[in-house]
Amino acid sequence: MGQTIIEKIISRNTGKPCVAPGDIVTVSADRVMLDDIMIPFIVDKFQEMGFDRVWDPDKVVLIYDHLVPPSQLDDIRHYKAGDEFAKKYGIRHIHRSDGICHQLMTEAGYVKPGDVVFGTDSHTTTYGCVGACSTGIGYTEMASILGTGSLWVKVPETIKIIIEGTLKEDVMSKDIILRIIGDLGADGATYKSLEFCGSTVEAMSISSRMTMANMAIEAGAKCALFTPDEKTARYCQTELNPFQKSLSGDADAVYCRTLTYRAEEFVRVMACPSQVDKICEVSRLEGTVIDQVFIGSCTNGRLEDLKMAAKVLEGKKVSPYVKLIVTPASRKVYEEAMACGALKTLASAGAIITHPGCGLCCGRTGGILCDGERVVATNNRNFLGRMGTSKVEIYLASPATAAACAAAGKIV
């Protein structure tokens, strides 16, 4: 019987001829990602479990991104905990200010198609953009993997999402994934794997695919997978082996649900306060006055996003009284956006450009808002209190829409 992408990855990882949804299996981690928020807690639990060595230090990547640069004294404590742990156990892959973990894991070459990867952040689903099974876990489980190299998982059912055709010019992959989350609901994919296919998906850049894989968790998904292709191989600087080339859903694979879309039918949308599945067409929100715009995050802080924002804001100015905060997803993105002139265009338009990192997305630094304020943001969550007080209204949108709103001072 045919297999879905996730079934192929788990079969290969566990050395079984095939696995079926519902099977509980123990997988070996090809990589793990530890972030700065969770590191002291991971260290505590690792010690409590009594391990005296990390199973394979080369498979461990430690990334400081939420707390870069430190804005509170507690932040520094987390750096120290991470540095000491890395030194003690021989962990060499550490990024102290290179960007957001989910950008770096693929950009810096840590994740390859077909890998099984775990991270201490829910948006670890992002690496599905290159066909990797990756998902978020808690810090106790991470400590356990650091000691054992393995984790039990339940093989998920798969929802197949087919998108065919050509997108309208102003529609980005963010609009697609927001619409899909709206259709599935915030728990519509809980415990399940999403598998994207169709000509629209094939035509997409890796960056656009990242945006969609990143947000799969907002429908509850365990992972979100794209078939690796030539673009993936170039991005990962690898040649696809036969296993990696086989990572598409078989014609006779079993799916628990199939959704089919025409690309031409997608329009610009926003997720309205304060649920990610509360989707509304931008045309129905037009005129809503805003106080701030945020363009950045592991969802939409890549070069194509910044270029799109620059294209929209070329020759324009950010509306008076509106703050536009732009945060490149990584140092590499920052440098490329500088080299191509996108940052200059954005700065000339009046943007506040910050260092690469999670920035405003997790509400810790750089642009938090207060009661009654309204922000249009390109990140992945609009939960109450996410970017300041619980009386801030967060609208999630694509970089193109966000940039247009910044110039207009209202939703357009």
């Binding site: 928020i37 932040d75 106790t140 489980e141 809980t190 509400g363 209190g385 619980s390």
Partner: protein, 160 residues
Amino acid sequence: MSVGKIFKFHDDLDTDQIIASQYLLLPTIDEMKVHTFESLEPEFPKEVRPGDFVVGGENFGCGSSREQAPRVLKALGVQAVVAKSFARIFYRNAINIGLPVIVCKELPDAVDSGDEMDLSLTEGTAAAKGHTYPCTKLPPYMQRILNQGGLIASLNKEEV
């Protein structure tokens, strides 16, 4: 297990509401727990008593992977979380730290905050307002981790 008071929450309750990002860097769970449900029920940490229950709707604990969310509930003495369904990461985290998470489809709509509830894990039932409701039993693998007191206890036991 024994009788406790219910604190009821809505569908799609996200982990940011259980414990907000700005408190995740406090050095200990005890320092964090006084901020539990701060945006929704600021009095919760003062009012909840050991043995009380949190009752949710669908998709309880969605959002972030923060394990601090089930940990603050456990630290405040919450006996179990009973909901119609749970988000995946919250569910795993709760089992791993030894906080029972019980799927019960009917009870959440039938109760309100302040009602009393009696939970029997062995029977797989929850009782409130004179009715007894069936709960979904945990898969054996997870039940074993929970019985042993969480993942750390379970791992240490395997090593012995």
